[in-house]
């Protein structure tokens, strides 16, 4: 087994640098304003090439979630969750929910971005906007 690796294309590097600054940014189309995820060289909506890096609000809604009951990576002991979040800016990102978990379905829950240390880097994760308690969870680095 091994640790999970990041995909690091030319266009991913600035995104991970922005995450390291706790201000996740994505390429935003200069022509139509569409955000690109994963970051890439062209707008899939209008095919404009120009873009600027724009910080995301960090607000989103959970589209779906899973719980892994098998270990695939050294750095992700099971069980652990993964969520698909629709960002307010449009794209869907896959991340982890940290802190309180909803009692029933997670779908539709509003979440906010946070940043936590993972190995040698910061990664994004999300927390419920309606936390049951105000106490920060252990391991949380927000």
């Amino acid at each position: 087994m091994a640790n999970a690796q990041r995909i690091m294309t030319l266009y991913d590097v600035p995104m991970w640098e922005s995450i390291e600054r706790r201000k996740m940014a994505l390429p935003r189309c200069s022509a139509c304003g569409t955000f690109r995820y994963p970051p890439g060289p062209i707008c899939a909506e209008c095919n404009a090439l120009d873009y600027e890096w724009a910080e995301v609000s960090g607000n989103g809604t959970i589209l779906s979630w899973v719980v892994f009951h098998r270990q695939y990576f050294d750095d992700h002991p099971q069980p652990y969750n993964a969520i698909a979040v629709r960002l307010a800016e449009g794209p869907i990102v896959v991340s982890n929910l940290v802190g309180d978990e909803p009692d029933g379905s997670w779908i539709g829950e509003r979440v906010t971005i946070t940043y936590r240390r993972h190995l040698d880097r910061l990664q994004h994760a999300f927390t419920l906007q309606n936390q049951k308690s105000t106490q920060l969870n252990r391991g949380e680095d927000a």
Binding site: S64, F73, Y80
Partner: protein, 388 residues
């Protein structure tokens, strides 16, 4: 109505072959290495040629599966051809039909071999396969999100909640396909299971249980496809290909947009209209379905996507109408990837042919005239209709 498009009924399957899936699986589990991918491909080819009853010299086209090199397979089989290439099962059949319809080849051998089990191929984790073709298979790994099973688990969770399908209803897939495998001497997993067995089985990536996942085993499959007229002259039991269609959803693929919003069903709707139009047939004419089932979820999605039931009713359809050999619309009559063999869509093709020929033994669908094959791997929807 006249069939539409130049590949409708342009070609027929005249030969099918497969390796000893259960035997080789037992040998691999006993730490033996019966063959490599080329060895399995070679065995399946010899079987298909014998089944067709033709000589090797009549073959002028060659398709090999994604796990073997085209030239090396041709070299091993001694095949100099005028047309060929590498493709997965569904596109391989499509390309063979296109080559035949356009006069590039007359008799095409399609040959697949895969030693994925004995070679310890991983579909999740740091060395997960498929990332070169599908970025979504590897892009989300930093959050621990890996394996194609996880992609379908994420899709299943949302689908089940939005469309109202219960876990027990999803379990109908594994139960029905195991029933089919129990009647199939070439299947790996033949012990019948119940819905309760399914619900009590461990999760791999929740909400998917282990019975929702495909097997991983070694093996090979081959088909011989010939120009329809020639097939009538040289084949013992030609099975014409009535229609083929394809539609690929690429936009938003890595961020899972088409997977999580419409469950790939817009692609299936487009493909369904095209393939049924080409074949001058409709869903009501299909006597059995073969659905690419790396995971059980493919089955309810295809049932709705192709109009076998209304959107949101697949769970009810599977539970009340049925998808087994015992009742309703038989799906994956050999056991599919879940219980027969994980031959990445290739075993579904030969099962379709066998059903149309009426040679499926204990699992034969009575008076089987037409079989619909469907796959939607990573939002690339393909349908093939085999018929009399």
């Amino acid at each position: 109505m006249k069939p539409v498009g130049m590949i409708a009924k342009a070609a027929s399957v005249i030969g099918i072959g497969q390796t000893d899936w259960p035997g080789d699986h037992a040998r691999v589990r006993a730490a033996q290495k019966p063959h490599d991918s080329y060895g399995y491909a070679a065995q399946a080819f010899v079987g298909a040629l014998a089944d067709a009853g033709i000589s090797r010299d009549q073959i002028d086209g060659l398709i090999v599966g994604p796990t073997t090199a085209y030239e090396r397979v041709g070299e091993l089989l001694g095949l100099d051809v005028r047309w060929g290439g590498q493709a997965d099962a569904m596109l391989g059949v499509m390309e063979a039909c296109m080559a035949i319809a356009s006069g590039q080849a007359e008799v095409v051998a399609l040959v697949y071999g895969n030693d994925q089990r004995s070679a310890l191929v991983n579909y999740g984790g740091a060395d997960a396969q498929g990332g070169g073709a599908f970025l979504s298979y590897v892009y989300h790994a930093p959050w621990g999100f890996t394996s194609q099973g996880a992609l379908y688990a994420l899709m299943a969770r949302r689908y089940m909640e939005e469309r109202g399908m219960s876990q027990a209803e999803l379990g109908e897939v594994a139960v029905a396909q195991r029933m089919a495998a129990a009647r199939n001497p070439a299947a790996l997993m033949r012990k019948p299971i119940t819905i309760d067995d399914y619900l009590a089985s461990p999760f791999i990536c929740e909400p998917l249980h282990i019975f929702d996942y495909c097997l991983i085993n070694d093996g090979g499959v081959a088909l011989i496809v010939a120009e329809a007229g020639k097939a009538e002259r040289i084949g013992r039991a030609p099975v014409p290909i009535h229609g083929i269609a394809r539609h690929d959803l690429n936009r938003g693929a890595t961020s899972l947009e088409p997977r999580l919003t419409d469950y790939y069903q817009p692609a299936q709707k487009t493909v369904g209209e095209a393939v049924f139009n080409m074949a001058s047939l409709g869903p009501q004419d299909m006597d059995a379905l073969q659905i690419y089932d790396s995971f059980s979820l493919h089955i309810p999605l295809a049932l709705e996507g192709y109009g076998y039931c209304k959107p949101g009713e697949a769970g009810k359809f599977m539970r009340e109408h049925g998808i087994s050999l015992a009742r309703g619309l038989p799906v994956n009559t050999g056991g599919g990837h879940l219980s027969e063999s994980y031959m990445q869509g290739w075993n579904h093709q030969i099962e379709a042919v066998r059903q149309v020929r009426g040679e499926a033994g204990e699992r034969q669908v009575p008076d089987c005239r037409h079989v619909h094959y469907s796959s939607d791997v990573a939002g690339k929807a393909v349908s093939i209709i085999y018929g009399r």
